[in-house]
Amino acid sequence: MVAEIIVAIITAALISNVVLSRFLGICAFLGVSNKVETAKGMGVAVIFVILLATAVTFGINYLFLEEKTSIFHLDLTYLQTIAFILVIACLVQFLEMFLKRYIPSLYKALGIYLPLITTNCAVLGVALTVAQDYSNFIIGMAYALGTSGGFCISIVLLASIREKLENNDIPESFKGKPIVLIMACLMAIAFTGFSNLNIG
């Protein structure tokens, strides 16, 4: 069991990194990686939302949507997307209120990207994958933790690179987003190195 959890975390975080090899959550990845501090905030916010969302959606899926375990004895899995989106939107709203009250500086720094976690496809992606592919709650949560941790790792890495990049002489036409996209590509190529990691 412990070994399975570790394998799930490492696989989700590094080998099939959510941003760099599955291309989910690119919007926030490119949008909030100007400064390491904000990137950390975003990463932690996404971890928080993904963990809570996965836990809640797993429960909803288990109790109401899956035919075998549902209290209705009906196959309602087609409701997954809409029900999960509801839950995620609610959690993001909650997070927004919480940050506004207790960490206003982070709330300001995240700006428009905070409500956009709602539409961050990494969150829905994880919730759906766990609901469809994982029958064990603990391993599902480990997968969610790994995925969100992987998002946090990659966004902080990109932010650190971008901070260093500021001091370099970049050709005019590459300034801004283009050079960031190139950096993201290089990071994705580097992360394919993990695919040879033989675990489990």
């Binding site: 909803i60 109401f64 209705f72 009906l74 196959d75 309602l76 409701l79 809409i82 029900a83 509801l86 839950v87 609610c90 709203q93 909650f94 209120m97 919480f98 506004k100 009250r101 207790y102 206003p104 700006g111 428009i112």
Partner: protein
């Protein structure tokens, strides 16, 4: 039938629980916001276009409430919104005059002489980097390739006869064209102003005269004519002080090059 009812009921219950949860937590995590910000925010249109230069309507509302932004900063709302906000803020709306963009060049195809033919990409930013800053003989001319037209979100600029023209009714003074223009020939002027210097040529005498039929040659006639000292020739070009100018039009009458609009 059963499946439809149970799915509707299920979603309704989930939504209800979420609604109650969010309602309670919004009470718990309530933040005291300055009432002024809320009131100003209510006046703003709320389409978060960013035309004001702030991140969105919320950011602008905060800046206005703090006094960092002008009450008429919102380009979309225009005068009616500015009037409402000034009421909230207790500032007289009349103190802020509506500004519009104005292209300081009248080097149309007829007026401006060309030093060569340019057949490259139709973009001012590229043309401006060519020798003599574009094909027009004047080095400070509007190039007329429409970089400002592309920058304008409000469809207020068009290229007429090789020169950009601003529609004063549509212009909201968002400065997008001013920032886009590589030649720096666009500036903000008060709305409805009749007499403006429609030239940016910094050369003097014969050089300016050869470049364009309606170029300012820095002769200083307008400066001598003006009774209120509102127009001055500096760096080879007549500059008008719109706060002092009373729009009498004496300078436009006297200008030998007809580069002041009437």
């Amino acid at each position: 039938m059963n499946i439809i009812i149970s799915s509707v009921v299920l979603l309704a219950i989930i939504a209800l629980i979420i609604g109650i949860f969010l309602g309670i937590s919004s009470e718990i995590f309530k933040v005291e916001v300055d009432e002024k910000i809320l009131k100003v925010r209510e006046c703003l249109p709320g389409n978060n276009c960013g035309g004001c230069g702030y991140a969105g309507c919320d950011a602008l509302a905060e800046a206005i409430a703090k006094g960092e932004a002008a009450v008429n900063q919102c380009p979309v709302g225009g005068a009616p919104v500015a009037a409402k906000i000034s009421e909230v803020m207790g500032v007289d709306a009349g103190t802020s005059t509506k500004m519009v963009a104005f292209v300081r060049c009248n080097g149309t195809c007829v007026n401006a002489n060309k030093s060569y033919e340019y057949t490259g990409v139709k973009d001012c930013r590229i043309a401006a980097s060519l020798p003599n800053a574009g094909e027009k003989a004047c080095r400070n001319a509007c190039l007329g390739y429409g970089t400002c037209v592309a920058a304008c979100k409000f469809d207020a600029i068009s290229i007429v006869d090789g020169v950009a023209k601003v529609d004063e009714e549509k212009c909201v003074a968002c400065k997008a064209c001013i920032n886009a223009c590589p030649m720096k020939v666009i500036e903000l002027v008060p709305y409805g102003k009749k007499h403006k210097v429609e030239c940016s040529n910094k050369d003097k005498g014969k050089v300016a005269m050869d470049a364009c039929k309606v170029s300012c040659i820095a002769c200083g006639m307008c400066e001598r004519t003006c009774s209120v000292g509102a127009i001055k020739v500096t760096n080879g070009i007549a500059i008008m002080d719109y706060e002092k100018c009373n729009d009498c039009g004496a300078c436009a009458e006297k200008c030998p090059r007809k580069c002041i609009t009437k």
